[in-house]
Assembly symmetry: C2
Homo-oligomer: 150 residues x 2
Amino acid sequence: MADETSATPPLILEDFIPYRLNKAAEAISQRFAGLYRDQYGLTRPEWRTLATLGQFGTLTATAIGTHSSMHKTKVSRAVFALEQRRWLRRKRDDIDRRIENLELTAAGRKAYAALAKVAHAFEEELLSRLGPCGETELKAGLAALENYYR
Amino acid sequence: MADETSATPPLILEDFIPYRLNKAAEAISQRFAGLYRDQYGLTRPEWRTLATLGQFGTLTATAIGTHSSMHKTKVSRAVFALEQRRWLRRKRDDIDRRIENLELTAAGRKAYAALAKVAHAFEEELLSRLGPCGETELKAGLAALENYYR
DNA sequence: CGAATTTAGTTGCAATTGTGACGATCTATT
DNA sequence: AATAGATCGTCACAATTGCAACTAAATTCG
């Protein structure tokens, strides 16, 4: 072997799975974020908090963080912002008074319903563009990944 | 219809493609980032810059940003950091003197080679855990996505 | 040519995010 | 019951990021 350095396998970023995954996720997220940002002025942590609460009804801040993998200060700030909008209410737990039980107000539920619709439409559009085959593959691939890192 | 609000389809985050994609990408990225962070103290923008330069040889800062979708200030700072380490050199272009041609030093190429090896190993491990079927599905799914947003 | 526009890269500043410490409360152990 | 340790949420502060203005240089066009 004449030249050692040229023998090292180069890394082709376009083929590297973590890179591709990141870029795809980022691209899709940006598009979707545009919708809730433009229509409702929501940040990403706020949207996630809203969506998590909308799905589960009543949760603590910690539970929201655990479920949506957000740092607790992020959740704390998102909760504050949503509270300012009167989209959620806090209620101190009577039994464990460290805990706040968070739930959406009527206005919050209304916004959530509208955004859930937007989200579903977005996903449907995405999947339809992938075609039935792409959809199956993507879902299977994601499932395989989830199985890996969980 | 008795109750209008309950008729809105709830959004199940665990099934929502953008959410799943994001979580998967984040999880994989974190793992991989641990490797170059712990072993080399590299940040993510630094790693991306190193990898892009390692792959393409000589590039301008703008080209790195375009290729790796990083904001130009991010690239600027990453280039500065890598320069401090003596992992890359700048050369003013003789024809267009606004431009800096960036290239890795010997030390930079050495680090790149080592990290490329780590990256390949990481990817191989990941794919082997997915199994041949998961690998095919994931790659097909990613390809479908890339085809969508490009 | 020479003024206006565009491009490359940096820097200051503002917004966002993460870290660590904190007060309050609960639980476990003795 | 009392002390020690864990947990919940917040806040001050530090690091990271993004935006906008800037310098320097090239290009366009009258």
